[in-house]
Point group: C2
Chain length 554, copies 2
């Protein structure tokens, strides 16, 4: 698929600026920026890293997403006069007025972003982004970059897990907009669940902005808004072949309804007239796209019978209805019952296509119920997922952090009393080591100055999160994990469309060994430091590095 | 506080249009709209209700929020030419072109919205909004109204629970932007957590758009970016009284540091020089607003000592530092230790204000840890809350639904096989009955045509969710719960500022009986139907109403 057109790109850039204006950040970014400026340190070179400490959902991996928006955010980063005036009103009155002139002129022309490509499988404690540039500017970017990456990566990873739970066959529809955390939560969810492996969205704006296929037919309200067959208008439909004049579909449907009831031994007295009217009316509007929701009253006593009658009418006129939606109850059992009726109709009325009609299931699907559904006998072709997918109920936030690792060319480290919260100092190169079967098996962090590991050669490294001992590994292939994607005010790698990034996700997930993809108790993937980086950490911990010297008070 | 100015209102209206454009909705709204239009039913009068089925977080109440945005959304609702062209591309090719002309001319001039006022305490199964107007239009509004109400009400209710857990004394700071579900999730959280009872936000854009007080000082990166006292520049500060020239604060601080170490018996050799430099540099930039984060290395061995020295320097020059932030570990215990040191310094150095310095605590606070913190001995004055507040980890979505209750003047009802999913038909009036102590005790839904209940007179009603028996109640006061807030294309009630709505929340929560406000196992509030409404439901269930007649197939 082609990259987004110029006009789409501009639209998305405007959309990012509207969604993530430069004031949408934490106040302390500005108070720190002023303190740096006041101390004359604002132009000092600094390097920050963005990473998360634990894979989400108790899983073995995450997907990295949100980069596209970060690139557009950096490109358009600047403060309006109105922004600056607001900042003047909330910073202390004694703030030097020259600082506000500095803010007026600020942009990201001095910032370089190296990043893992969007849509890559990633792991906890690997620095995904490296943001370098003038200290005050790269500090100011923290909250925005975190905000753009955290939820995008979270919901994309969640979608990938739903896809793994569902298996490759079923088509997956995202339909969570109404339950999302704000309108943009919904839009972001539609975009990144598609990237993570969903096929369709109900969200029209996501189709408009990102080219995601949209789908949707009817709600229960449509069904319950009809009372009687008198409301059906027009009551005629032309046959596909066009030979005949318009046909009275009301009579035709009534006839089919009797035959369907006879075939199934159903009681015609329990069939809802309003539902029949709703289906027929919808079929007349969409003879090529008929897919009603059939559980507004009772699937077995009414909805399925009405569907079959209207669908048989459409078939008789040469149309091909799409199928049905089930929105409550035990979806697996119902889908089996519905398919059985489809097969009966197919055989009895000699309509071969009737048994391959789609069955769409939507009923508060979670990752767990998706996995269960995949194990049980069922005839569902499309699954719609809303709340649990978009709000990530299992873990509604990803904890990406943004940490200073170098200032003025010297490594910096936060040494916390909580060892989990300590950081790995210094500017790094990150390599992904791949085994002979083509599976990545270790992500290696080195100091930037080190020469890269070589394929076929053994190397010593220190896995994170274990005891302090070294391991020796020999990669069959070595890939550099990050690329420069923004520099000198320009996006330096082509921006990918949602469909392109979705394809990358598929490839990245396919190469990952199944043991890391297990939804429950996956094998953990190894992330390690090079010997030199490991030594630097040890030095700083011993306090022998100049990074965090002790004050020998006079 | 005054209502937002005209320019702020326009800004917010633009912001709502950007955040919730009319295409940000489910595709099936358009497919249904076309089917209605095709059947000539699009102008038929229809009434939808918006409500939720369970109070969030297992609680006894919810707060209703998002109305303000809904009103602005309705006022600006219209499709651009670009929107219509996109819809043409996703609807079936056979769609009648005249439908797109209909969409071009569409607006909400025919829509009336009656709603509970924003910031009101509300309960499950009470219709909070009634949206009436042309069938196709009010159907099209569904997803947008749900999206604007669901998360706003959820996060506002979550904030109210955090406030109840914290008690009335502590100041509460929302700081969740980086972990929010998308940029707008963060902005919406800042706005509605303030409305729900928080005092401050870290989110600058929320200050800019909604007038919420913003706060923030420094991150660990600021501290770790400093290495030595040589980086402090300037190294002087003028005293407040202005009598003296600029004072060498570096020497002054070193002197205080020695005295503090002596007083506390601390080892000066363990004090981090970079941290001291960071604090001093910050104090020089913000002598009136000094509040550093003191746990970048070790609170007891370094951070607290550095703070005391710099703070004493500021006091000596006539400034009044603000306090400290603790961002890790056991906040209660640490705050007690810190306060003890503050008291010692206060007494020993005769600085009375030293013992009333603020202690800000921030460390992944949940509702439960807030409640525990409130029970344990602690000296925390301000609590910052992020992830658990904004993403509502305990329940990340509210399940508001939007159901058709009347079409063409006749009641409509969805009769589900799941009785919980059945709806209450007909256009209603909703009254809140108040007891002699001023506590609301029952919300009563009546048919619109019924005369309202009268204070002091007993009435029969049927509580929802119990068996089918009637109860007799006598209200001391009766309030009409909903107001017309939008009609004929105009907002008909003044739009409230965030501060005004926040005040309403306080009043509404204060009148609620404590038994409904318990965070765990609250008493459930009674929601009931009038006798006539109860009878209508029974009639429709028996199938004797014309609403959902059975089709007696010929």
């Amino acid at each position: 698929m082609a990259a987004p057109s110029g006009s789409t790109c501009r639209l998305m850039e405007r959309s990012v600026r509207d969604r993530a204006p430069p004031l949408l950040t934490d106040m302390y970014q500005f108070t720190m920026a002023y303190a740096y400026w006041r101390a004359g340190r604002h132009q000092e070179p600094a390097v920050f890293e963005l990473f998360f400490r634990d894979n989400p959902f108790g899983g073995g991996f995450s997907l990295f997403a949100g980069l596209h928006d970060c690139q557009l955010f950096l490109r358009s980063f600047s403060f309006s006069e109105e922004d600056v005036e607001f900042l003047r009103s909330v910073l202390p009155p004694a703030t030097d007025p020259a600082f506000f002139q500095y803010l007026r002129d600020l942009d990201c022309s001095g910032v370089t972003l190296c990043s893992v490509p969007e849509g890559t499988v990633v792991f906890a404690r690997v620095p995904l982004m490296e943001v370098s540039g003038p200290l005050a500017v790269v500090q100011l970017l923290e909250t925005s970059l975190l905000c753009l990456v955290n939820y995008a990566s979270l919901v994309c990873s969640n979608a990938a897990r739903f896809r793994l739970a569902a298996g490759p066959e079923k088509r997956l529809l995202e339909m969570g907009l109404r339950r999302a955390q704000g309108p943009d939560g919904g839009l972001t969810a539609s975009r990144y669940t598609y990237i993570g492996g969903f096929d369709l969205t109900s969200n029209v704006q996501a189709g408009f902005l990102f080219g995601i296929p949209v789908a949707g037919t009817m709600a229960h309200s449509y069904v319950t808004s009809f009372t009687s067959l008198e409301e059906v208008w027009p009551q005629t439909l032309a046959a596909v072949n066009g030979d005949s004049d318009s046909v009275d579909v009301l009579s035709l449907t009534k006839g089919w309804l009797n035959r369907v009831c006879e075939l199934l031994g159903s009681d015609p007295g329990k069939i809802r007239e309003g539902e029949c009217a709703a289906f027929l009316s919808y079929a007349i509007a969409y003879p090529h796209n008929f897919l009603p929701v059939i559980d507004s009253y009772s699937v077995g006593c009414s909805g399925l019978l009405n569907f079959c009658a209207v669908a048989l009418t459409l078939f008789e006129l040469g149309y091909r209805p799409l199928g049905v939606r089930l929105d409550s109850g035990d979806l697996c059992r119902q889908s089996v019952d519905v398919r059985r009726v489809f097969r009966l109709c197919s055989e009895h009325f000699s309509v071969p296509l009737f048994d391959s009609l789609l069955i769409v299931g939507t009923n508060n699907i979670s990752e767990q119920s998706m996995a269960e559904l995949n194990k049980k006998e069922n005839e569902i072709n499309v699954v719609g997922v809303g709340t649990h997918l978009v709000t990530c109920t299992k873990q509604p936030s990803l904890g990406c952090v943004y940490k200073l690792v170098e200032a003025r060319g010297r490594p910096r480290m936060k040494i916390s009393e909580d060892p989990e919260k300590s950081t790995v100092p210094g500017r790094k190169a990150v390599y992904r080591l791949v085994d002979a079967e083509g599976h990545p098996f270790l992500d290696l962090q080195c100091l930037e100055a080190e020469s890269p590991p070589e394929a076929g050669l053994p190397l010593q490294c220190y896995p994170l999160g274990r005891d302090d001992s070294a391991v020796s590994v020999t990669p069959a292939q070595v890939a550099c994990l990050r690329l420069e994607v923004f520099s000198k005010g320009q996006v330096t790698q082509p921006l990918c469309s949602a469909a392109e990034t979705r394809a990358k996700v598929q490839v990245s997930l396919q190469t990952l060994h199944p043991r890391h993809k297990k939804l429950q108790e996956p094998d953990s993937y190894t992330v390690a430091l090079s010997e030199r980086l490991h030594n630097l950490v040890a030095e700083i911990h011993r306090g022998s590095s100049s990074d965090s010297s002790f004050l020998l008070a006079n």
